[in-house]
Amino acid sequence: MIEVDRLHKSFGIVDAVNGISFSVGKGEVVGFLGPNGAGKSTTMKMITGYLPASAGAIRICGLDVERDPKASKSHIGYLPEGAPLYGEMTPQALLDFWASVRGLSGTRRRERIRFVVEALELQPVLLRRIETLSKGYRRRVGFAQAMLHDPDVLILDEPTDGLDPNQKRQVRGLIRDMSADKAIIISTHLLEEVDAVCDRALVIDQGRIVLQGTPADLHAQSPWHNAVVVTVPPGRMQEARDLLRGLKGADRVEDRPETTGAPALWVIGKGRAALTSDVSIALAGAGISVLSMRTEEGRLDEVFRSVTGAGQA
């Protein structure tokens, strides 16, 4: 539903987006991940038709964004960064306004407005001025605006930014609910969000896609993916370390603290194979009691740091 082909955008001498290509199909939620200034928002602005592209093509439901702006825009719902709204209006008036602008009328207009008000639980604030609403409500009004015309494509720029954990969970649930029959792009710099809502992620840095894949693929990029992390009684640390180094499949054993801060041994298998059973058998055979053991999935922030610019620590 969204096809982006060799997209470029330069502002003067700065290349903000430098040859990005990807496509998003129906039912897919794709996450744009990257440091600030990577080109995520610029790409979204080009997809929605706000910014003209310097080169490359974008098609929304088969319609070229530059050649057929009106038709392509009618398929898109957009939540810009910070969810801008007309603060002096009430959510009711705002939804009415966008319904008119989107050309909704009659029964369908009433149905759609009722639907988004219910889906986003806006009923209690419907007649209050938007500028007096909490951030969470304002974001929900922004969502309502984006979903109002039941678009095939949703472009959400940092939809959960600035929300509290409950609101974040709520918004993520909403995105998941909507995803069945839509193509959705969200941008975020929260790595946990990728795991929570995205089917696929594109890591963007300096205007290029530096890595893409499912959240699991991304985790697998971590140098500690599938490492077996064990803690043993302090007195037997040395013994366990030597034993595990001698394991047949082990590439190396590292001393790194567990997430709790306790000293632990990280056993990394050759070819990142998970050595869980080998480790447990070896330790049991030597009579070393295991205090805890788990298999590391690989943390996204490590992957993120290794693929995006070194300056972005």
């Binding site: 910014l51 825009k73 957009y78 801008p84 709204l85 007309y86 008119s100 602008v101 050309g103």
Partner: protein, 244 residues
């Protein structure tokens, strides 16, 4: 058309949602009245007409029209709502005309609120109400011209104060285009036909004709085409500045 009206309605609602509307209307009506009676010498003239009232309108508009035009685009840019507007399936001209209409209707409301002066002059004597109606039309058109200029300038800058100051300056040149103060410095440096062109483009003669009660098509066309030109330029600027 429906989209344009929706935009105009929203914009008009925005005026009335802040104290700006009340302040503007109060200042306009008070200033129009004060100028008529003190500077215009309404009573001293001893004539049952509103010449003294309409004479000052271009000068009033010069300050007040930029005040209502300056926020039209600058505010959208500041809050970022322009992004939503430009990514909805709406043509730029629909937005431009919708916004202008809202501001124009608002200035029409301001003009309508000066009706006590109409009542006053009718109580004091027997004025030619036809002339007064033509004058109101002229005043509305003159205001529309300055307003369209202010809208255009508002689109050029994201800063309301800059928009206001430049609009006042540009409006001053527009209103005074036919007067010696503007023509004299030009005539020394530019060919005569250009000076004549500036003189002929001046709104002064058209406004005067209307306030004399001569409702001629040519004067109406003059103002309408000036407004259309400004709105056209406004559209071009919005397109040009798209996403910058």
């Amino acid at each position: 058309m429906r989209v344009m009206l929706a935009i105009a309605r929203r914009e008009l609602g925005a005026y009335f949602s802040t104290p700006l509307a009340a302040v503007f209307l109060a200042v306009f009506v008070a200033a129009a009245g004060a100028l008529t009676f003190y500077a215009g010498g309404f009573f001293e003239q001893g004539q049952a007409n509103l010449t003294a009232f309409f004479y000052f309108h271009p000068w009033l508009f010069l300050v007040l029209m930029p005040a209502i035009g300056m926020r039209l685009w600058a505010e959208e840019r500041r809050t970022g709502t322009i992004e939503l507007l430009m990514t909805s399936p709406v043509a730029v001209w629909q937005t431009v005309v919708g916004k202008f209409l809202a501001a124009w209707v608002f200035s029409g409301i301001a003009l309508a609120l000066t009706f006590p002066i109409l009542v006053t002059v009718n109580l004091l004597g027997h004025p030619d109400n036809g002339v007064i109606i033509a004058s109101y039309v002229g005043s509305l058109l003159m205001g529309g011209g300055i307003l369209a200029l202010a809208c255009f300038i508002s689109a050029l800058t994201g800063n309301q104060v800059i928009a206001f100051v430049i609009s006042v300056a540009a409006g001053l040149l527009f209103v005074m285009a036919g007067q010696e103060a503007v023509l004299a410095p030009l005539s020394g440096h530019l060919p005569d036909y250009f000076v004549e062109l500036v003189r002929s483009l001046s709104p002064a003669s058209h406004f005067e004709a209307l306030t004399r009660g001569v409702l001629q098509l040519v004067d109406v066309i003059y103002f309408v085409s000036f407004i259309a030109l400004m709105l056209f330029l406004n559209c071009q600027i919005i397109e040009l500045r798209r996403g910058r």
